[in-house]
Symmetry: C2
Subunit: 134 residues, 2 copies
Amino acid sequence: MATQPAAQRRAEAKVMYDAFVATCPTRQVLAMIGDKWVGLTVAALSNGPMRHGQLRARIAGASQKMLTQTLRLMERDGLVTRTVTPTVPLRVDYELTALGRTLVPVLTAVKEWSETHIAEIMAARDAYEARTSS
Amino acid sequence: MATQPAAQRRAEAKVMYDAFVATCPTRQVLAMIGDKWVGLTVAALSNGPMRHGQLRARIAGASQKMLTQTLRLMERDGLVTRTVTPTVPLRVDYELTALGRTLVPVLTAVKEWSETHIAEIMAARDAYEARTSS
DNA sequence: CGGCATCCCATGCGATACTG
DNA sequence: CAGTATCGCATGGGATGCCG
C-alpha cells in the first residue's frame, strides 16, 4: 500500500504534539490544576493539614476513590505530603508542601478573575442560547 | 427497608455538590481554562484574529472536531467572536473578545508559575517513582 | 474551506465490596 | 479509618464521510 500520506501526516503530527505536550510545562500544569478535584483540595488544605476523612467531609461530592486518586497525584507532583500514623485505627494526614503553597496565589488569581467575570460569562451564555434556539 | 441512610446521604451530598458546582464561579472557570484546548487557543489568538485552518496548523494535535468544539464553547462563553465571510470557499475568522483578552494575563500567571516550578514537579515525580518502584 | 453527523474505542469516574 | 480491586456506565475524543 506504499504510503498513506494523510494518515501518516496525522500520525506524525500526533507524535509531535505528544512530544510537545510532554515538554510544555504550562500544558502539564494546566492539566494538573484543571483537574476536577485538585483546585478544591489545595483550597481545603491551604488552612492547614487535614485528615483523609476531614477532606472527604470538606469536599463533599468527591468519592473516596477520587479523593485518594487526587491526593496520590498531588503527592507524586510534590504538592502535598502524606503522613501515616500507624495507630489502630489508622490515621493519615495530608499537608501542603512549600511547592503546594506557592500554587495558592495562582489559584487565588483564577478565583478572582472568575468572580469578576462570571456575570459576563453567564450573560454571554444566555445571549448565545437566545441566539441559537430562536 | 424504611430509609437507606448511607445511600441517601450520598445522594443528598451529590445533589448539594452539584448545586455548589453550578453556582461556584471558580469551579466553572477552572473547568473552562482547564479544558484540554482552551488554553492553547487563547494563546494562539492572543496575537490577533486567525482563521480556522490557521488555528489547526498552529495548534497541531487538535482534531478538527475538537477545535470546532472548543471554539464553539469559547464563543458561547463570550471569549471569542466568530465571523463568517460567505465567499466561496467559505472563510471563518476567530478573534478574542475584550473578555477573552482579560483572560490572557491569568493564563500568563499560570504559565509563569509553570515555568518556575516545573523542575521541582519533575524532580518530585522522579523521587516518587524511585520511592514506589523500589 | 469549514462544519456536522456517525461510528467506535479509550478513559474517567462512581458504586460496591473486601483488606490491613 | 484508609486504601485497593472490580465492575459498569457515561463521557471524551479520534476517524471518516457528506453538506453548506
